[in-house]
Amino acid sequence: MKIASMLNDVFVSLFKRPFTELYPYAAKPAPERLRGKLLWDEQKCDGCKLCVRDCPARAIELEVADRAAKIFVYHYHMDRCIYCAQCVASCKEGALSMSSTLYHLASADKAAFTEVYRAKGTGVCKEEETPD
């Protein structure tokens, strides 16, 4: 018969720092594999649209003006995305990756959640600013 069986833990805790992380004043570094915002490499993309087809949340839209010359318009909806990384696995060229640093994605404005990139073969120009 034992009473106060947690006495040990309780007593020791008085002298330890609380386990609670005082986020956002103190934040642990994010793990490398964290699935944050989706990043698109327009050089590697070949316009096959497997990512569009496999996304469970219809978060990616790709308009292909000229596949050979790599003229694309790429839409990414951060609010629809469920951060499952299926698109990353589906892409045969490795053009997609999920950032482990861009995950503070909250915004008060819905428009901020859609990113549009226009690739013109030689470079990409981003249309909207993204929240950080």
Binding site: F19, R33, L34, R35, D54, I82
Partner: protein, 566 residues
């Protein structure tokens, strides 16, 4: 045990009641019977004492045109790795079967689901009107039929719903739920009490029914992995795993051993996470908040591990059709080992507390006893059954994935009470830690995934895995297309509710939350309609209820604050 000898005796026992039979897979036996012969077949089958009823599936083989096809009801009985199924074909216009509830108590829940969602008329079903769909769901609209449309659902709205009804004179009913601090998710339990002793218990689920099975029919095979993952937060990986194992079997995809090992490690880490979460929740139900806080603090270890390995603390999204996305090497493996060392030290302390702390034992020892025979009769599964001495563990009886090469030692306890359930789950945690270490030490080499076809060949498959709460049953049917024809999910908690209801009677009211939490219920897994009902204080007339709908409440709140607070 080969398929032949596993089913021997069945054919002779139920021979006169079935019209034909075949073995679509090594571990399956399908027997066709009819609605008239069903009761006879099940009676004869029960007499053989072969296995337990695991699930009842209904599917609609037709299309949107109402005259095509038929409705088929499958009664799945399981024993170890083998599944014996009775199949009844019914016409679409008026499908009826008799209830097998009197023969198999756990069938009632499944038959109710069948009757509400598929529209099969199950004759002789006892009890309340609706269990899974909301009370104001229109009559004669069955969501899982192929000719179901959203318009038909929105069309008619039944009159004001009632919860419970009038109290019979002489009884005093305590409603627990849908909103109650004891419940992490909504469910409605009606307990009739006499002083502090419970005399009758009733359950109503369906408050978070999301229509996932129907949704699966509209999504591609790949999309469904993520849909299934979101059936539940703490068993998300095992749901996705059961699904992909089934689909891979249908598609004839041979997953490389390394991928299977990675999947298994995630399954075991998830089991650790789930059991630690349960330990905290159960302690909280007992009013022992300190144990709750400490076990959840230690749970952070495994959540951080999972985040490090997969990129997310919940919904690991590790599975692909044909393998896994992530590998476990080097530093990650070392982190796992360190985390497991820490957890094992803490678990030893928790085991001691749970088995020796006097105040805790008063709440668990001798409470909620489900005897060995009761457990068998009620069809309990998972740790609840193992705490009553019933050795049901799919990882042992029907090893899948890496469990073939890394066997699991089953954890049993014969004391049958709540304390036994605590002990079983903590010991399972030790076993999971040991197993994970072993797999890490001898990881098979190889690729992480192989390509899978986008169109899955026609066929049916039954995929059964051991979730933290017990046996998870998936029935997947394909008609050769890019989307599944039917995905049926029978989650472990659904099996165990019958046990709770029968055990509740005779116990004190204060023990009910502990008994409910003892089976580790996962409501999200049970329901795939939210109506807020406020059970206000009846004015003079016993049993009269006040009801507000969500919209009423919302409007009231808006008006109140718009009017300056009065």
């Amino acid at each position: 045990m080969s398929g032949e000898s596993a089913f021997s005796g069945i054919q002779d026992g139920v021979g006169p009641w079935i019209s034909s039979s075949r073995a679509p897979a090594d571990n399956r036996l399908d027997m066709d019977t009819s609605a008239e012969h069903l009761v006879g077949a099940v009676t004869a089958f029960n007499a053989l004492k072969w296995g337990y009823l695991s699930a009842i599936t209904g599917f609609d083989s037709g299309t949107a045109a109402p005259s095509d096809g038929h409705i088929e009801v499958l009664y799945h009985f399981c024993r170890g790795p083998s599944v014996a199924t009775f199949r009844v074909k019914l016409p679409r216009e008026d499908p009826s079967v008799p209830s097998i509830g009197p023969l198999v108590p756990s069938a009632v829940m499944y038959e109710r689901e069948l009757s509400e969602t598929m529209g099969v008329n199950v004759a002789g079903l006892p009890g309340r009107k609706r269990q899974f769909l909301s009370d104001d769901w229109p009559e004669k609209v069955y969501p899982l039929r192929k000719d179901f449309t959203m318009e038909s659902a929105a069309a008619t709205h039944a009159e004001a719903p009632t919860v419970g009804g009038e109290d019979e004179p002489g009884t005093f009913i305590i409603p627990i739920g849908p909103q109650h601090p004891a419940l992490k998710e909504p469910g409605h339990f009606e307990l009739a009490v006499d002083g502090e002793i419970v005399t009758h218990a009733n359950i109503r689920l369906g408050y978070v029914h999301r229509g996932i099975e129907k949704g699966a029919e509209d999504r591609s095979w790949v999309h469904n992995i993520y849909l299934m993952e979101r059936i539940c937060g703490i068993c998300s990986h095992i749901h996705a795993t059961a699904y992909v194992l089934g689909v891979e079997s249908l598609a004839g995809v041979a997953v490389p051993p390394r991928a299977q090992a990675v999947r298994t490690i995630f399954c075991e880490l998830e089991r650790i996470h789930s059991h630690l979460l349960w330990l905290g929740v159960a302690a909280h139900q007992a009013g022992f908040d300190t144990l709750f806080m400490y076990s959840w603090r230690d749970r952070e270890t495994v959540m951080d591990l999972l985040e490090e390995l997969s990129g997310n603390r919940v919904n690991y999204s590790v599975n692909l059709l044909g393998g896994v996305k992530y590998d476990i090497v080097g530093k990650a493996a070392d982190s796992i080992r360190r985390g497991l060392d820490f957890l094992e030290r803490r678990l030893k302390r928790y085991l001691k507390i749970v088995t020796t702390d006097e105040s805790f034992l008063r709440r668990t020892r001798g409470v909620g006893t489900i005897t060995f025979d009761e457990a068998n009769r009620l069809g309990t599964i998972g740790p609840t059954a193992r705490a009553s001495g019933v050795s049901r563990d799919l990882r042992v009886e029907a090893p899948y994935m890496a469990y073939r090469d890394f066997p699991v030692v089953p954890v049993l306890d014969s004391r049958c009470d709540l304390e036994a359930r605590f002990v079983v789950r903590i010991n399972e945690l030790f076993e999971s830690c040991r197993l994970t270490r072993e797999i890490l030490n001898r990881m098979p080499a190889g690729e992480l995934s192989v390509p899978a076809p986008r169109k899955v060949p026609e066929g049916e498959v039954i995929s059964r895995v051991e979730a933290p709460r017990g046996e998870l049953f998936y029935y997947i049917r394909s008609t050769g297309g890019a989307k599944p024809d039917r995905v049926k999910v029978r989650t472990p908690s659904l099996c165990n509710w019958a046990a709770v209801l029968s055990v509740a009677v005779g116990h004190k009211l204060a023990d009910i939350p502990m008994i409910m939490v003892g089976i580790d219920p996962c409501f999200s897994c049970n329901d795939r309609s939210i109506t807020l009902r406020r059970r206000g204080a009846p004015g003079g007339v016993p049993g009269a209820l006040e009801q507000w709908s969500w919209e009423d409440l919302r409007q009231y709140g808006i008006k109140y604050y718009a009017g300056g607070g009065r």
